[in-house]
Symmetry: C2
Subunit: 791 residues, 2 copies
């Protein structure tokens, strides 16, 4: 099986196979083949370390501080940022064949295949390599980052000597399995020598120990003062006479296995790895913690870890799997997307879910609104424990968010636009601090999670506080104007090509919901709310602000302006913009983007997805058409939202094209930057496009609703979800849909507005005709790649 | 005579006297006592160099490049800035008395007085100092930067041995007169080590030469590649037996005079200094140039230089002097202000006039809109040659301004917000690049200069091109909306507490005038306009944009919003803002300032000053009152504008208070930062407040108009101005005004709207009653200091 020209991978339903190595695609493949459990992330680097695009071993929230410089400073600008760093690399296993290092850039590669198995949660590799001296070896390796043992990763490394051209003598093999701290990194793009200095050799050695079959290294970051320990242990099987020894120096732990192999003989090394970090625990505590995790891993054994991994994923896929009939590529891409979102969040456990997960150093490892607005839509329905933990993380950074609000002269909490550990790390406030909508996005994720799980305890212990503090923010951020309308001025909405505007419709609608839900929730949990200082007067003030919220509307055009005055602005000269000018932010000053009608990404359209109750069907159709014509999708967050609203407004082919754009962002490297890590939010958006777009799923306090529609390109879509302790599966066929309760108590749902009871037997319901929608147009040259039939 | 407590200076009409040295005020006094001719600037550092606040020797436009760092970069952000540097210090003369260095921090200072003489253009100093060993010397020094010989400065240094406690023996004195390059500077506020590195030892030695009585040093800047030469020569008189020798090393030229003086004997050293710099000329060319200037200075001699200086200033003051009866402090301050504006521009000769002139390193030595909007209002009427040269400088940087416009996707020229040599040096675009009004400000300075001088050749050769290229900018920056109105969106007006707004009234009115005047001027000079590619169609498009310019108006409040939607914003909580929170930008994020009604400085009010034709008298009164209540004057540019509009709207006492605030900005260090250099624009504003405020002067193509009013605090104001080859003097008395033609042909002017002919005899006209104006209020705690009688 061979991939299409220019693609790295073949098309198969449950695996991503790279049938041969293409060094030009190395960075992208390292990201797609990254393994993670949300706590540990290992990029898909080759076992032997080189060649590489970006060596990457990450621990969630393990960062170094770096200075944020300004040509002209300002009050409240963050002075230092947080950058995820490449920690001690434990995936490194070097091989010496006779006196020649195993390196694919030398000798001959007879075969090289890697497979990411989405059902097994492993990355396997098979190589046949002939050394420059003519020795042929076969390497079989398998790697996993355990979803069941959070601190553990493991590698099974098998090398076999094959019959080569000079095989009269047995071959002497040396396997060096290592832990390497302060690996040399490729140069960063920004040429700031201070940042470079801060990020070069960020780890200071604290302890190194070796025993017979392994080693432990403990380090501390220079500026942020975080401590990390990495430990390894090995099980080796091979011909008699093999020798094992280990050593450790400050930045290197090394276990060396020496063996002489006849043709056909194999040497197998199982490497157990464990990681731990802390900002507070002592050296010996962190050291002991990783040794204990390592002992547990070794006790479980390689086969045990593999078995646990598959069992975890089997259970996951029962709910999470989406089956797509009619487009094999899309089927694969959708599964890859769901798999990577799971990897990003599964065991993050009250730490952030980054925009790139733990797959690469992009965006400095920061977390944005992506988590709540995109990832949690999915996770609340397929891995609710992970969604709950992500929101518990937000609760844990409330102290920083409240401090930030106070610094900005505001009440409540102002969550950081980008962060790792809770401090604002945005160095450009018009597209950072001013994007206050992130606070409503977090509140809405709370609302949705509670609706999806029915978890009242979570609502009381976690959700309420987040809702209250964000509502307080909005109440202090807005004000009533002369006419009594509640305005939110001078903020930035989702569209990053427009900034510092008044009454961004998305922001105001989300803030309105935030205020309402906070008041409702506080009323339901009045004692807990009282402990947060909420009284009736405050709740009334939230309701009042919500009910008088200003939502601008352009009567002349019959559309909602994205923000006050937006539709009066000059429309961007799309016809005069050459294709190589995109993304515009790299070729045009913000000044020009901000003042014209051009949207980087869905903004008003996202408001319609998340607040459909605030728009009539006619407004949705007109707004969708209006913003389609000026949205250039220079953000990978946009396509999935456009897919949902295209489906809702009857543009099923267009919705399908947008779904595809969202789904293939990393498999086809559509944004050209997958090497920095995969686009977790776009992957989550892929699920959203299917489930909320074609499934028409909406889940709120009114229950679970569907409005399924099958795009002409497909013959069947089946998706599942968890809802209030139940598991459902929904199968959309051309003219009908089948709802099936996989487990749990009988329930009610709405099908295209019709209340429907669901119990033991599946319910089949007809899909109403889709009305004819007027054609919409994208900016010149910016239509999504047509994938739908007849395109 | 002693100054008031806390003040450095005594009050005298024509001099600024510092009767004793206060080290706490050293920085402020260094700035106020800076001498400059617009080409060379010497801060008022002590002859012996130390103690100092900031040693400063500047050459107009001689700068070093430094990196501009960004936490998050963006397209079109300038990557490097330009910073004025301290060049070779030639004012240094050290003295050794026996074996003890003359240093005011040791021994006893019996007397120390310095005097800046505004009529002589000199800084003199008299010191009696007793060395720790008991030797008493009297030092008399006098310093000038020649207004007649542009490359020359000179110092007369006289030391006399007085009868002291141990005066039995003659005293051995050693005078070391030096040129010092790469002087050690006080640390900069910003802690960016890269900037620090760029600015430490910026000069690379190219040549050093000494002869018997002097030396020459040639250096080149490390990054910007500019070459500077400094040369000195000396005339020494003293008792027989004195010895003179000179030496030169890379960064130091030194002439040493040794003499043994009996009590009562004097040693006199006259030091001639010359400076030259070039970005293109060869080492020997620049070297020879400064030696030639030095030869000319020595030929002229000390007495000759002093005489030329006074003659130049005598002529200047005939036109420029303002006499104030009734407030001696203000009288002095007004003269200081006029003197410093002259110093900043007199011999700048097609180089920039910086915001601090050449008096300190503030704002990196950059030039802003201050030059055109403030300084040139004055210079076009009191030193028109300097105003013309400042605008010729703008013409000379048109290539960079056109390049910048192209980079921003615009037509015509986009002048830099801040620069030394024409490149945009602003590191924060919302308050830099977005402040496009600077282009209209330049155009308006052209219009005013032509009106003031009637210089048709200047209009054709210089003005036309500036008007055309700025008109082109506006035409491409704005667009016609659905209703056919011409909008200018997403720009920043003068008020730096509001940014990136639509239809800033100031900007739109000034752009409107720019477009109209460009069309009119092009029509008058159609051949020259044709050479610039202007045709009838383009002129029509300018007129069309001007005539359909959108000027927002708030019908509900009956005022002009500063920009679209401004009056809908929340009003700043002035009552809740403590006095130590000002200036707000140091204590509040831009985010919060931008979204609320709070003005750093006059914006709409400045529009009323410069475009009174666009407002009714009632609108002016209402607008003035409205913006008084929200303008905090965190910019020193604001008070003078408020003075003018207060006078115009009948608030004469308030106008007087604002005049005082403007006038005393540096003498009383009102902004707390005079040590970085004096506030040239505020000083120009002082003239504007008197002449345009109380004089009601307005000069445009319709001629010269006055509407004089005397504030109750004063009994007389007399001011002069040049107009179209004539010199006038206007004397405002309580009930009448006298217009007198000092020189030139008969003319017409308007007195309070009445056409008046003026020829040989003075014309006396009555001043109409001022109508009663409604009281206005400033933000809590931000009223100007009350100076008017009865306050």
């Amino acid at each position: 099986m061979s991939p299409d020209p220019g693609r790295a991978f073949t098309v198969e339903p449950w695996v991503v196979r790279e049938p041969h190595l293409d060094l030009a695609l190395l960075g992208q493949v390292e990201s797609v083949f990254a393994l993670s459990n949300g706590h540990i992330g290992l990029r898909g680097n080759l076992d032997e370390g080189e060649p590489h695009a970006t060596p990457g071993t990450y621990l969630n929230s393990f960062y170094e501080r770096r200075p944020l410089p300004y040509a002209e400073g300002g009050y409240g600008y963050p002075e230092s940022g947080q950058t995820i760093i490449n920690v001690t690399n434990g995936k490194l296993i070097r091989l010496l064949v006779e006196d020649e290092p195993f390196d694919l850039r030398y000798g001959s590669v007879h075969r090289h295949e890697r497979v990411l198995d989405l059902a097994a949660g492993t990355l396997t590799r098979e190589v046949e390599w002939e050394s420059p001296a003519g020795r042929v070896v076969r390497l079989r390796t398998e790697r996993l980052v355990s979803l069941t043992q959070r601190a553990v990763a493991a590698i099974r490394y098998e090398v076999e000597v094959l019959t080569g051209t000079h095989d009269t003598e047995p071959a002497l093999l040396v396997v060096q399995s290592e832990l390497v701290a302060n690996e040399q990194q490729p140069a960063r793009d920004d040429d700031d020598p201070r940042v470079e200095a801060a990020m070069t050799d960020p780890l200071v050695a604290e302890q190194c120990r070796a025993d017979a079959t392994g080693a432990t290294l403990v380090h501390r970051t220079r500026a942020s003062g975080l401590r990390v320990a990495a430990a390894m242990d090995h099980e080796v099987t091979g011909p008699a006479g093999l020798q094992i020894s280990s050593e450790a120096t400050e930045d290197i732990g090394r276990t060396t296995v020496i063996s002489r192999l006849q043709s056909g003989q194999k040497l197998t090394v199982v490497k157990y790895l464990s990681y731990g970090w802390s900002s507070r625990r002592s050296l010996s505590a962190v050291h002991d913690q990783v040794r204990a995790a390592l002992a547990a891993a070794r006790y479980t054994g390689w086969a045990g870890l593999v078995e646990e991994q598959r069992a975890y994923l089997d259970d996951f896929w029962v709910t999470a799997d989406i089956e797509i009939d009619g487009d094999a590529e899309l089927q694969q891409a959708v599964r890859v997307a769901i798999f990577h979102v799971l990897q990003a969040g599964a065991r993050a456990e009250r730490r952030a879910i980054g925009a790139k997960g733990l797959t690469g150093p992009g965006y400095d490892g920061h977390t944005f609104w992506d988590t709540e607005t995109f990832c949690l839509q999915l996770l609340s329905h397929v891995a609710p424990y992970a969604a709950a933990d992500a929101l518990r993380w937000r609760q844990s950074i409330l102290p920083q968010a409240k401090e930030r609000a106070a610094q900005l002269g505001l009440e409540g909490a102002a969550f950081p636009w980008r962060t790792i550990r809770g401090h604002e790390c945005s160095g450009y406030w018009p597209a950072g601090t001013a994007a206050f909508h992130i606070n409503a996005d977090i509140a809405d994720a709370v609302r949705r999670h509670v609706a999806a799980t029915g978890d009242v305890e979570f609502e009381r212990e976690v959700g309420l506080e987040l809702l209250v503090e964000t509502a307080r923010l909005w109440r202090s951020l807005g004000h009533h104007d002369h006419a009594g309308q509640f305005r939110i001025d001078g903020v930035t909405g989702p569209d990053e090509y427009t900034a510092i505007v008044d009454n961004n419709v998305y922001t105001n609608l989300m803030a309105q919901l935030n205020l309402r839900v906070a008041a409702d929730t506080a009323a339901r949990h009045s004692r807990a709310a009282g402990r947060l200082g909420v009284d009736a007067e405050e709740m009334a003030s939230w309701r009042d602000a919500a009910s008088s919220m200003r939502i601008p509307y352009d009567e002349g055009l019959g559309v909602h302006p994205q923000s006050e005055g937006f539709t009066d602005h000059e429309v961007w000269d799309f016809a005069g913009t050459k294709p190589d000018m995109y993304p515009l932010l790299l070729h045009v000053p913000y000044f020009d983007l901000y003042r014209k009608q051009v949207s980087k990404q869905a903004d008003l359209v996202l408001a319609m997805q998340l607040r459909p109750d605030a728009f009539t069907e006619e407004q949705m159709a007109r707004n969708f058409a209006y913003y389609e014509a000026i949205t250039v999708r220079d953000s990978s967050l946009s396509a999935s939202t456009q897919a949902v609203m295209a489906a809702r407004t009857g543009h099923l082919d267009l919705a399908f094209d947008y779904l595809a754009e969202s789904a293939f962002v990393d498999l086809d490297d559509l944004a050209g930057n997958s090497e920095h890590g995969v686009h977790i939010a776009s992957m989550a958006g892929t699920w959203i496009a299917v489930v909320c777009g074609f499934g028409g799923m909406r889940c709120d306090s009114g229950g679970l609703r569907f409005a399924p529609r099958l795009p002409p390109a497909l013959s069947r879509i089946s998706f599942g979800l968890a809802w209030q302790g139940r598991r459902l599966r929904v199968e959309i066929r051309p003219d009908e849909v089948e709802y099936r309760l996989v487990s749990g108590l009988p329930m009610r749902l709405a099908h295209h507005g019709e209340p429907t009871a669901l119990a033991g037997d599946p319910v089949v319901a007809p899909i109403p005709e889709v009305g004819r929608a007027d054609a919409v147009e994208q900016p010149f040259g910016r239509a999504p790649k047509a994938r739908h039939p007849g395109a």
